[in-house]
Amino acid sequence: MQVFDFKPKMDYTHFCGVACSDAAINEETERLRDLWQKVQVSRDRDAIYEYLRAAYELVLCWKGENQEIQRSRRALKINGLAPSEEPEPFAAVIAASISPKKLDRRQLSKYSRALRYAASRQCRPRDLKRFIQDRRGGLNACAAKYSRRLGRQ
């Protein structure tokens, strides 16, 4: 007798039961955009960590549901940017929430690498500032460490 091994196409282990609509993604990017504007107005040099923490937390949430690639593509699309086949989620969220005219590619890459490094070290969102600033020597050092890990100079 043949035994069928049923494997569903979708992985429901991380399914939280609430669909994420385009409006919800738009609201999240709007929230990040407001935070970015606050960062720009603020004279506090550590204000950027508030924004980075929010972006980091958002991607971790999407990651928790195994939807980070799909949702980051949607976020880019909603904000009128052309998404690649498999966008890097941190970079996509930052790019979607900040106008490309206001953020140059190098800065975007630096933030994205720093956040990826924090994610690879399983840093919790609330510890992000302490992790980057105190324990790893700042944003530039974190980004450099992640590049080194990838084998780039």
Partner: protein, 81 residues
């Protein structure tokens, strides 16, 4: 399915559930709550977050808190006058 929410959001979600449950009597409670959460998320009043144990939770956004504060102030002011 259980949804972990902060106290403020839970209060308003349950209030909305009580108002709407008679319209969707065929649906399970968790489905109706999922719909309410989805709607609140779409208008920017609720957002997902990662809990300490790595599971997903829901919380009220600053926008919702500000709006509730304004409404509370309005109610207090109108009661005084």
């Amino acid at each position: 399915m259980k949804y972990h929410m902060d106290s403020k959001l839970r209060f308003w979600v349950l209030a909305e559930y009580k108002n709407t449950k008679h319209q969707f009597s065929a649906l399970k409670r968790s489905k109706i709550i999922a719909g309410i959460l989805s709607q609140l998320e779409s208008v920017g009043h609720a957002s997902r977050y990662i809990r300490k144990d790595g599971r997903l939770g829901w919380r009220a956004t600053d926008e919702m808190r500000e709006e509730l504060f304004k409404q509370e102030q309005g109610a207090i002011y109108s009661r005084r006058n």
